[in-house]
C-alpha cells in the first residue's frame, strides 16, 4: 500500500486514541481531507521542484510507534547540550519520556502537547493558538495536523525571562524497521517574555526514520524568542520541518538552523508580521556530503511598516550532495520602510555537488530597503596555499577556510555552549581536529 493510503486508512485507528469531542479534532478531520486531496508534494509543485520525496515514500513506515521504548541517559547524553542547566522535553519514538525530561509548570509551561490538548485548563489557549498560523492548504502541514497529538508545549507568561534554555529532543530508537514521526509543537511567548529553545531530531540506529514536524511559534509584543535547530541526524533519517512564526509589535525572533547530518532535510520556515518594528532573523549553516540533500524554503511576509528581516544562509556542498535555497520576501503595500535582507552564499567542493538558489522578492511598497545576494563559488586556491605555507595541512586549511566562510552565522548565537557544540560538529564533519575559536 502506498504511504498516502496507509496514512489515510490509519486515521480511523488514530481516532480511537484521541478525544474526538475536543474541538481540535474538527481541525484534524479537516486536515486529513486536505492531505487526502493533495497527497505528498511532487516535483510539479513550484516549491518542490528540486526536492523529491519519491525514494523516501517507498519505505513501509510504521505510523504508530510501539509503546515503552527505552533509552538510557548515558547513551544519549551526547545529543544534549549537557554542560548547561536546561529544561528538557524529550520524546522517544514519538512518546514522551519522563525520565529523560525535565519539564516545568512553575512560572512557565514547558511540557507536553498531549497534556495541553487533554487538560481543560489549557482549552482556551489551545483554541486561541492551535493551527492558527500553520498553513492550512499545505499538504505536509495538514498531514501533521491530522495526526497531531504529541510534541512540545511551551507557554511563557508576560514578562517572564526564562533563564535557562529549553531543549526539545525527538529520539528514534530503531525499534521499528522504519518509522514515521509527526511531532506537533506550540510555543507561545507572551508580552515582554524571553525564551531560548534548542531542538534536535536524533536517531540512535541506522533504521529509516521520516519525520514530518510542525511547530507554531507566537511571539507577542516586545518578546524575544531564539530558536536553534541542530540537524545532525543519521544518514538514514529524513526530516521535513515546518516552522511557522507569528510576531507582534516590537518583538524579536530568530531561527538558526545547522544542517549537517541527515539524508534529506527540508526546512519550511515562515515568518508573519502582525505589528510594527518587528525584527526577524533567519540564519543557517549547511555542510553536507555524499548524497545528502538540504532544502531551505523560507518566507518572510512583511505586512506592516517599519519592520526588518535578516536572512543569512551559508552552504558547503561536497561529493554529490545537493542544496536548495528558496528564499522569499513579500512586502505588502502597507509595509513601508521595510528593511529586508537576504544572503545565500555557497561553496561547491566537488564538481558533482549542486546548489539551486532562488531568491524571490515580491515588493509592493515603494519606500523599502530590500536586498538579496547569492553567490556560488569554490574554495580559494591562493588562500589555501597561503595557509599551507604557514604549516597548516591541506585538509585543515580547507576546513579552516570553510569554517571562516560560514562562521558569521554563529556570531548571533546567544548561547555559548551551543556555539561550542556547533564548532565541534563542524570540525567533526570536516574530519579535522582544530579548535575554531576564531
Amino acid at each position: 500500500m502506498e504511504l498516502k493510503d496507509k496514512l489515510i486508512s490509519s486515521f480511523m485507528a488514530f481516532e480511537n486514541r484521541v478525544d474526538i469531542d475536543h474541538p481540535v479534532h474538527d481541525i484534524r478531520t479537516e486536515a486529513i481531507k486536505v492531505f487526502e486531496e493533495k497527497g505528498f508534494p511532487s516535483k510539479k509543485d513550484e516549491l518542490w521542484k528540486y526536492t523529491s520525496l519519491n525514494t523516501l515514500l517507498k519505505n513501509n513506515y510504521s505510523v504508530f510507534p510501539k509503546d515503552e521504548p527505552g533509552l538510557e541517559f548515558k547513551d544519549v547524553k551526547k545529543y544534549f547540550i549537557h554542560d548547561i542547566d536546561s529544561y528538557k522535553i524529550v520524546f522517544i519514538d514519538g512518546i514522551y519520556s519522563s525520565h529523560l525530561s525535565q519539564t516545568s509548570h512553575e512560572g512557565l509551561d514547558a511540557c507536553l502537547m498531549s497534556s495541553a490538548l487533554n487538560k481543560p485548563k489549557y482549552r482556551t489557549v489551545i483554541e486561541k493558538y492551535f493551527n492558527k498560523i500553520a498553513k492550512k492548504d499545505d499538504s505536509l502541514t495538514s498531514l501533521n495536523t491530522a495526526f497531531s497529538r504529541e510534541g512540545a508545549f511551551i507557554h511563557i507568561p508576560k514578562g517572564k525571562v526564562v533563564e535557562k534554555p529549553i531543549q526539545i529532543i525527538h529520539f528514534a530508537t530503531g525499534n521499528e524497521a522504519s518509522l514515521m514521526l509527526q511531532p506537533r509543537s506550540l510555543v507561545i511567548v507572551e508580552e515582554n517574555a524571553q525564551v531560548q529553545i534548542i531542538e534536535r531530531h536524533q536517531s540512535t540506529t541506522e533504521n529509516a526514520v521520516f519525520t514530518n514536524s510542525v511547530t507554531e511559534i507566537f511571539v507577542h509584543e516586545r518578546a524575544i524568542a531564539d530558536y536553534y535547530k541542530i540537524q545532525n541526524d543519521k544518514q538514514s533519517a529524513s526530516l521535513i520541518d515546518n516552522t511557522y512564526i507569528a510576531q507582534e509589535k516590537n518583538s524579536h525572533a530568530s531561527v538558526h538552523t545547522f544542517s549537517i547530518g541527515g539524508k534529506l532535510t527540508r526546512n519550511n520556515l515562515q515568518f508573519l508580521h502582525k505589528g510594527e518594528y518587528i525584527n526577524s532573523t533567519l540564519k543557517g549553516i549547511t555542510i553536507i556530503e555524499g548524497k545528502q540533500h538540504v532544502d531551505h524554503s523560507t518566507l518572510v511576509h512583511h505586512s506592516e511598516p517599519n519592520c526588518e528581516s535578516h536572512q543569512d544562509y551559508k552552504g558547503i556542498y561536497a561529493d554529490k550532495s545537493t542544496g536548495v535555497f528558496n528564499g522569499r520576501i513579500i512586502v505588502e503595500k502597507e509595509a513601508q520602510k521595510t528593511n529586508g535582507f537576504q544572503q545565500s552564499n555557497n561553496i561547491l567542493i566537488d564538481d558533482k555537488a549542486t546548489i539551486n538558489a532562488k531568491p524571490q522578492l515580491e515588493i509592493f511598497a515603494d519606500d523599502v530597503k530590500c536586498s538579496h545576494g547569492c553567490t556560488i563559488g569554490q574554495l580559494d586556491d591562493e588562500a589555501l596555499f597561503y595557509l599551507q605555507t604557514r604549516g597548516i595541512p591541506e585538509k585543515e586549511a580547507r576546513a579552516l577556510l570553510m569554517y571562516a566562510f560560514a562562521n558569521n552565522v554563529l556570531e548571533s548565537v546567544k548561547i555559548p555552549e551551543v556555539k561550542i557544540r556547533i564548532n565541534k560538529l563542524i570540525a567533526m564533519k570536516l574530519g579535522v581536529n582544530i579548535g575554531f575559536d576564531l
Binding site: T389, I392, L400, L401, L438
Partner: protein
Amino acid sequence: MLKINNLHASVEGKEILRGINLEVNPGEVHAIMGPNGSGKSTLASVIAGNEDFEMTEGSITMENEEITDLPPEERAHKGIFLSFQYPVEIPGVTVTNFMKTSINESRRAQGLEEMPANEMLKKIREKSELLEIDRKFLSRSLNEGFSGGEKKRNEIFQMAMLEPKLAILDETDSGLDIDALRVVANGVNKLKNKDNAVVLITHYQRLLQYIIPDFVHVILDGKIVKSGGKELAFELEDKGYDWVKQEVAV
C-alpha cells in the same frame, strides 16, 4: 641549508625559471634582484611548494633532503617561510587564531603537544611588540582590509612567531613607509642568527642598508646571471639592469 640545482619551472606550458642554481647556508643573507617579470616571485613560490608551477627539471634540497615532492605545509615544517609579495586576505580568520592554528599544526607535525595558552599569548605579545603591531590588529580578520604596509608588517610578525630556518621575503619592503621599513628591518635583524638564513627579494637597495646581504644575485629571464657582494646592489641601483643584460649577451 637550501640547495637549488638547475631548477626549471613552467606555468601553462610557458617556462619561467630556466636553470636556477642557488645555495644558501646557515647564517647567510642573500638578496635577489631583477626586473619585473624576471621570475623572482615564481622562484619563491616554487621553493614554498606552490603547485601552480610545474617543476620540469632540477632539484631543491633543504638540509640535504629533497623537498620537491613535499606539500607546502611539510616544507613549512622543515623551516621554510615565505613572506608573500601579495599577502592573501582571509576573511573570518583572526590573526591570533591563525597563528595559534599555524603554530600548533607545526608542533603536531613534530609530535609535540599544543602550545599552552599562556605561553602562546606571551609569545604573541612579545612578537607583536617587536614589530610594533597594535593589539587590535590581532583580533581582526587576517589581512582583510589591511593597508599594503600593514600586510607586510603582518607577514614579518608571522615570521617572528614561526621562527623559520629559511625566510624568503618577497618585496617585503615595497609598501612600507620609512619608519615601518626600519621597524620591520630591525625585527628581521633581531630574529637573525648563525643558524638561520634570509633571502630578500627586492628592487631597492634601501632595505639592504638595514639588512646587509652577504650575496646579491641578479635574475634575468628566469636565470641567475650575476652574483656578487653587497656593492652589486648599489651598482644596480645606480645603473639599472641594462649593463647586466649586455654583459650576459656577450
